[in-house]
């Protein structure tokens, strides 16, 4: 008898320890389920997923460092003198490691207290009720599960012309692990990851060029949101190569092709940020009876179930590849598989880009609302008219509120400006609560804050602004 082939029984198997998986595991444990969580990278190295280890958290640490340096210099106009400002990325890596380590330990502690068993290893399904896990020491363990939640996330997409080598050509993971600021950087892709990394490295002193195939940065956002960001990049001295394709490397340069022909961009490092690919291809999902679409995503129902016993959440299912969306789905999947009526039915999923100025959206943009056949009213408040923004040296940007006229409800909010990431949640609450514009107008916003911009935008929408001319 081969011991390894004896399947260990599992009540609920969670595959992946990211924001989708670990939240699903914790919710299921709260509901009395006996949970086994399999994480490829193991407990402290893996719990928290890409978000904690190579995504949201490390990138925000880097952006905070870059913004501090940038803001200190910008404050010269206000009388701040900074001589010999230095950036030590090696020191930063230790700082970042401490943050990530303590947060991962926190998740491990939560799981331990809820009685969740965490197993390190790569999992493959081999039956609708069975999976094999290859552990880091090379052993294989078999698990026979009653139900499972697939939360394996996504990985950076690659460009065949520019394979990531971890030295010269980096993906976002490599970019966040830099221990020195490169002299020159070419960022391929002006989506949110490319913009965040490019902006931060530029503020830290690198000569950054951004190469984007489409005709503007953040090409999939409302065009009005791109412009303040493009103006800021110009001021940072970041050339934009729009409508251009990264063709390959040539010596110290990145070769870029556009309608005008071929050009060269000096690039000590090249960062590829062209999207993410769902991790569904090496899981043996087909043997578990789970279909995978042509886009690599797992089709699921409102309760996130792909089959009666297997659910899928986060980047492996349709919708934005965002941590908060994955966590919300994880809760739904855990509840639904535990017999509770649960469905993933948000009205809005907020999305944030930590570029400069920050971009945050929730619900429908004006264009989307009109395309959906809604009669809309729109109010846009320029932050140039905000007192608080002036003191922050952050007068670039605006707050826009979109309301559906007939239903008298706010359907979307877009913010470009400092701290947009923190401001957007009031908008999401308004959209989810189906708030009337009058609800926001009748809510006193504290002065002096950026949050006043939301109330001002609503007053504009209602045609009775106080602090700007209608």
């Amino acid at each position: 008898m081969v011991v390894g082939e004896l399947a260990e029984p599992v009540d609920l198997l969670v595959v992946g320890g990211g924001p989708g998986g670990y939240v699903a595991a914790l919710r299921a444990a709260q509901l009395g389920r006996d949970v086994l969580l399999v994480e490829r990278a193991g407990g402290s190295a893996g719990l928290g997923g890409s978000c904690l280890h190579v995504g949201c958290i490390p990138s925000k640490a880097l952006i905070e460092l870059a913004d501090s340096a940038h803001h200190a210099r910008a404050m010269a106009v206000a009388g701040l003198a900074v001589e010999g400002l230095q950036v030590d990325l090696a020191r930063f890596q230790a700082f970042k490691g401490d943050i990530v380590g303590s947060l991962a330990a926190g998740i491990a502690g939560l799981c331990a207290r809820q009685g969740i068993r965490v197993v390190a290893g790569e999992l493959r399904f081999n039956r609708p009720d069975r999976a094999a896990v290859r552990t880091p020491d090379g052993q294989v363990r078999f698990f026979e599960f009653r139900q499972a939640i697939v939360a394996t996330g996504s990985r950076p997409a690659v460009l065949p012309a520019l394979p990531v080598d971890g030295e010269r050509v980096l993906d976002s993971t490599g970019a966040l692990a830099l221990d020195a600021v490169p002299r020159s950087v070419a960022v391929v892709g002006a989506g949110y990851i490319g913009l965040e990394l490019g902006t931060a490295l530029a503020k830290l002193g690198a000569h950054v060029t951004i190469v984007e195939a489409l005709d503007r940065v953040l090409p999939t956002f409302d065009p009005a949101l791109s412009r303040p960001v493009e103006r800021c990049l110009e001021r940072l001295g970041v050339p934009l190569r729009l409508g251009a394709r990264a063709a390959g490397l040539d010596g110290d340069d990145l070769v870029v092709e556009d309608a005008a022909g071929e050009a060269r961009v000096s690039a000590e490092k090249v960062i590829i940020a062209v999207g993410r690919v769902p991790n569904t291809d090496e899981l043996g999902l087909e043997r578990a009876g789970v279909a995978i679409g042509g886009d690599g995503l797992v089709p699921v129902d409102a309760a996130r179930r792909a089959t009666p016993r297997i659910a899928a959440v986060g980047d492996v299912v349709a919708g934005p590849a965002l941590a908060h969306k994955a966590s919300a789905e994880g809760v739904v999947a855990a509840e639904a598989l535990s017999g509770h009526p649960a469905a993933f039915d948000p009205t809005a999923i907020p999305a944030i880009v930590f570029c400069d100025p920050e971009v945050a959206t929730t619900g429908l943009s004006e264009g989307e609302a009109r395309a959906a056949g809604l009669q809309v009213d729109v109010g846009t408040f320029p932050l140039a008219a905000s007192g608080r923004a002036a003191t922050l040296l952050a007068r670039e940007g605006f707050v826009r509120v979109v309301a559906e006229r007939g239903a008298d409800r706010i359907v979307g909010v877009q913010i470009v400006g400092a701290h947009a990431s923190e401001l957007i949640s009031e908008g999401t609450l308004a959209v989810e609560m189906m708030a009337s514009p009058e609800d926001l107008a009748g809510t006193i916003h504290p002065h002096p804050t950026l949050s006043e911009g939301l109330a001002e935008a609503v007053e504009l929408l209602l045609g009775r602004p106080v602090h700007v001319s209608a």
Binding site: V211, T220, D222, R276, L297, G319, A321, G363
Partner: protein, 438 residues
């Protein structure tokens, strides 16, 4: 639109000509699968779950919750799968969502572009700057908390009229639309549990479904039938012995299901049928319009049963031809079906007489209300040890109090009394059943 399919309210049971929509399980614009629940329709006293007849998109619902739909009238219109319309397809299952999402191939930027599009897109919308491929259907004006309540209660928000500001659907609207009465009720709860409300605040619950049906029937019964009630105390010593003997026998035969089903009720049903055969005017109905009394040929005994959303009276049909064991199993099946709200309309129709054993609720003596067009209702109280006088001595005996209501228009005190006397005699000496045994 070409290819649409009208689904008409099917004849869900004998003698039903219309049904009331209690809840929709789908909304207009939903993509549905064949056999997925479509609606709960209230007929007579049962709520019938009607499944979707086809896979496709719901383009129109024929009625709102609370409205009545005639048999043969359009209940819902479907665009079969493959003939999906552009509009209103937004809230479909995620299977159809965002085909342009992450990782699609293409030159230079495509994958990121698609993923960022997702990042900003509202739920259900596809990205890439193009008009959203699936436009979100108009969402009901309801906050997340109200949506959760509706989901748990099985209420389709699309069918709920909001009473909040600007037509917003608030908690009370969902509760009024049947929240808490239609789905996922604990089987044993005899009354719908009302969510706690702030102290001192009135809460308005719409009268719908089974509760409205009960209210109408009982108002009619109490206002039109002059009730006369015959109260008796019965020495149940022999009846208890007979029941125990039958139960033991079932257990010895290994029939635990029958043993569990052998309560006092099937014995009383059998006894009532015997007495009814001797007193045909008690197994009768009255038709004042035609000025007729109908002596019923069948002995269909209704068993008053507490169900999650109110009292129901499933019927043991042809009880005269059934053994006590058969009746016991049937009563057990019927009450389980009542608790699980899956009684078919025909299981609720055709009663000629009602037995109401309220002893289980702890009631000693009741005042049963007659269920029209029947003319009598036999109420059975709780079996209790009581001191009684036997041959001049006070002894303790198991006593059951009967309260038998009769329609005084048909049954005089002495006709009803004669029937009740026979019931009492058979309960006190069950072996007398032998005299009529065939």
């Amino acid at each position: 639109m070409a290819g649409e399919m009208e689904f008409r309210l099917p004849d869900v049971g004998e003698g039903i000509d219309a049904g009331e929509i209690v809840a929709w399980h789908v909304a207009e614009g939903d993509d549905v699968r064949e056999d997925q629940p479509l609606a709960d329709v209230q007929t007579d006293k049962a709520v019938v779950a009607i499944p979707c007849p086809t896979s496709g998109t719901v383009t129109r619902l024929g009625a709102r919750v609370g409205e009545s739909v005639a048999v043969g009238a359009v209940l819902a219109v479907f665009a079969p799968a493959g003939a999906k319309t552009g509009e209103g397809a937004g809230e479909g299952p995620p299977v159809a969502e965002a085909p342009a999402a992450k990782g699609s191939p293409g030159p230079a930027e495509p994958a990121r572009a698609a993923a960022s599009a997702d990042a900003m897109a509202p739920v259900g919308a596809a990205g890439n700057g193009a008009p959203p491929a699936s436009v979100p259907a108009p969402r009901p004006l309801a906050s997340p908390a109200v949506r959760k309540l509706a989901r748990e209660a099985g209420v389709a928000l699309a069918d709920v009229a909001g009473s909040g500001p600007g037509g917003r659907i608030v908690r009370a609207d969902v509760e009024a639309a049947g929240g808490g009465t239609t789905a996922a009720q604990p089987a044993a709860a005899p009354t719908p549990a009302l969510p706690a409300s702030p102290a001192g605040e009135d809460r308005v619950i719409a009268l719908r479904g089974v509760r409205r049906s009960i209210a109408r029937t009982l108002t009619h019964a109490w206002q039109t039938i002059p009730h006369v009630i015959d109260f008796r105390e019965v020495d149940a010593t022999q009846l208890v012995r007979a029941r125990r003997a039958l139960k033991e026998r079932a257990r010895r035969a290994g029939d635990e299901r029958l043993a569990a089903a052998l309560t006092i009720t099937p014995l009383i049903v059998k006894i009532a049928v015997h007495a009814l055969r001797r007193h045909p005017y008690v197994n009768a109905s009255i038709d004042l319009e035609r000025e007729e009394i109908v002596l019923r040929g069948a002995y269909n005994l209704g068993i008053a049963t507490a169900a999650p959303d109110g009292l129901v009276v499933p019927v043991v049909h042809g009880a005269e031809a059934k053994t006590v064991a058969e009746i016991a199993l049937e009563v057990a099946d019927l009450s389980a079906a009542a608790r699980e709200q899956r009684l078919a309309p025909e299981q609720l129709a055709g009663g000629t007489f009602t037995v109401n054993n309220y002893g289980g609720l702890g009631i000693w003596l009741g005042t049963p209300i007659i269920k029209p067009p029947e003319v009598a209702n036999l109420g059975v109280g709780r079996l209790q040890d009581r001191p009684v006088a036997v041959d001049g001595e006070v002894v303790v005996r198991p006593i059951i109090a009967l309260a038998v209501s009769g329609d005084h228009r048909i049954l005089d005190g002495h006709t009803l009394g004669a029937f009740v006397s026979d019931v009492v005699e058979l309960m006190e000496d069950p072996y007398l059943l032998l005299q009529d045994a065939r």
